[in-house]
Symmetry: C2
Subunit: 412 residues, 2 copies
Amino acid sequence: MSKKDRLSVEPYKGVRDFYPEDQAFLNYLFTTFRTFLAKAGYVEYHASILEPAELYRSKTSDEIVNEQSYLFTDRGGREVMLRPEMTPTVARMVAAKRRELGFPLRLFSIPNVFRYERPQRGRLREHYQLNVDLFGSRSGAADAEIIGVAYGLMRALGAEEKDFVIKVSSRTLLENICSEHGLAEDARATLLSLMDRRAKMSEEDFDRDLEAIGIPKEKLSSEEVPAELAEMIKDFKEAGIENIEYAPDIIRGFTYYTGMVFEVFDTHPKNNRSLFGGGRFDNLTALFEDESLPAVGMAMGDVTIRDFLEVRGLMPTYVPTTHVYLATTAPELAVKVQTLAGEMRRKGVNVAIDFGEKKIGDQLKAATKHKIPYAIVVGEDELSSGEFVIRNLETGTEEKRSRAELPNFFLQ
Amino acid sequence: MSKKDRLSVEPYKGVRDFYPEDQAFLNYLFTTFRTFLAKAGYVEYHASILEPAELYRSKTSDEIVNEQSYLFTDRGGREVMLRPEMTPTVARMVAAKRRELGFPLRLFSIPNVFRYERPQRGRLREHYQLNVDLFGSRSGAADAEIIGVAYGLMRALGAEEKDFVIKVSSRTLLENICSEHGLAEDARATLLSLMDRRAKMSEEDFDRDLEAIGIPKEKLSSEEVPAELAEMIKDFKEAGIENIEYAPDIIRGFTYYTGMVFEVFDTHPKNNRSLFGGGRFDNLTALFEDESLPAVGMAMGDVTIRDFLEVRGLMPTYVPTTHVYLATTAPELAVKVQTLAGEMRRKGVNVAIDFGEKKIGDQLKAATKHKIPYAIVVGEDELSSGEFVIRNLETGTEEKRSRAELPNFFLQ
């Protein structure tokens, strides 16, 4: 094949290939999520990335649906979207089995979600996003539980309390202002969007836009902590958790939030940004059925959290799952080496073999590239004597073991 | 919202929602795969479901690309496909890092793959597919290793040797016939497709189509076992594995296979069908670079294997990850119940709580719907006395424990 006919080895723009070290990090992250959430009584669900497009038209932000969605028409003429977020899907699933499911219902999932973003901005078009949701309770204790889950996940990933702060607010404040001023739904959405962009705007621009909506600025500046949030923050303090605070400027972009909202911020002076967040959404299942079901949840993306762990030195060291590499002195011994590997595997050792097609030096180089910690050169001599030399590929030290003793060396 | 405006709770046609019990099965399947493959020295990789469409045009079957693909144009005008299979992706990834990776290279992944099939046939448009590949060896021992992996995966899922048979053949036989008769590439592809459909055709139709290609039928009926396959089958027998046999009618659909091919069949008299398969593909990375890299691999789908496990009574019983449910006699106690739950979680117990918004009977019904095995009713009396009654929700039996003794009950 000529050079110009060759296919590119690059992935599609804006998505990632996960080679073993990157996949090992994802596995670490997902295992940490699963272990922590099982402890807290949450169970895992999942769904397809394909959803009917109408699922997102009413409640997901217009920017996402109209400008950033992966929207296409299938061969049967149906409008399909690659999910940009998981919340509409879980609301659909819960509404579908309302009678069979018990409430409160604790669910989590780790879906990949898609947004068409211009890749030159360095933003990804696909990422993984842990979604944790609690359906069926209006209790402030449910709000507190989700905030506790956010806190616990950060701790499970190795973060200390000083590394992050959880800022809590409530949509109720804004809703009250809207009602008081008789704002129509359009104006409410405009106000929400304006509040969400506030930190990125000049004060003049913000004041001008706020005036256009017809809200006096002093209405927004109430610094009084709503009673239910004050109570929650006090309860956390009594439980020894100090990094949760009231912050009235926390709004969150999605229109479906109805009550408590929160965001977790990195406290690093050079990276003081929002890591993830969540809130209460009591009306979302009403898209599917008569009765609405109260809910509160959170979502955390893998890219943002990886950045955080890298900056904080909290990334796990890569250790391959393979314990030992069996180098083979000649191709005709490969079957016998595989038999030895089989014996070791049955005792619990993870073993890869070489088929003896290259020189021993090259075989050991391959093992080193794989980052496998140990190697054993297996030839006629070793197979007949039953004595094997285990080489530590990092330090070069060697130890001798009999065939029967081999597995135990790796299981200590 | 009026009834007619409501959104459907159905997923997109031909894909599945995974509620907790179905997700628990997937987790069981994937954990079994990961544990077995780590033992055999394979490491996990992953990639996006989005790939440039040109990746599939040359080597994946025309039927898949032209009639069954999820192909669309993104907002930047690029042709994108939802991957119909994983092999082109892993070949792309290996070619991209050829110099950094060590060989032989053992890789696996559990991607979801997509095909647009008419849903009325009851076929799914998305399924999970374990892909196992071994790159960088031309050895027959590498072919044997992949067949051994297929065998070992079946055993790890609980199948006995009598439950399945592995039928092995080689593309080399067909290639030799093609060369002997000077068949052009088109005619080769036609022959391949014909051979692959043979079992589903009448003998008359098969003979007529074969004659049209210009191959005498007696050429195909060679029952002589190729030497390398005979050797491999003998080695397996010596290792005590009896259910691997030569079957010259095994062809496999994909055009990229170049040598050994195999399929695993259910031996159940009512379900004597192919479960999954694989083979050698030595030229695929040549799509991306000068040098081609030998490879052998296999792929197994989650739907077919679940059917097999169901028919054979090998499905794992669903056990929720939550050990115990704490029912709460009044909403104002929820914070104290959460504190008790926290204590138990720190000792290793998986605990869900109720926030006390419903009657105790309804709270216990919810726990039963969740299939949580135990419940504890927590009220003022229990919190002040420090004595708790643990109720087995299946049998109704009860046992009393002090606050300090509680966690141990669930960790036995």
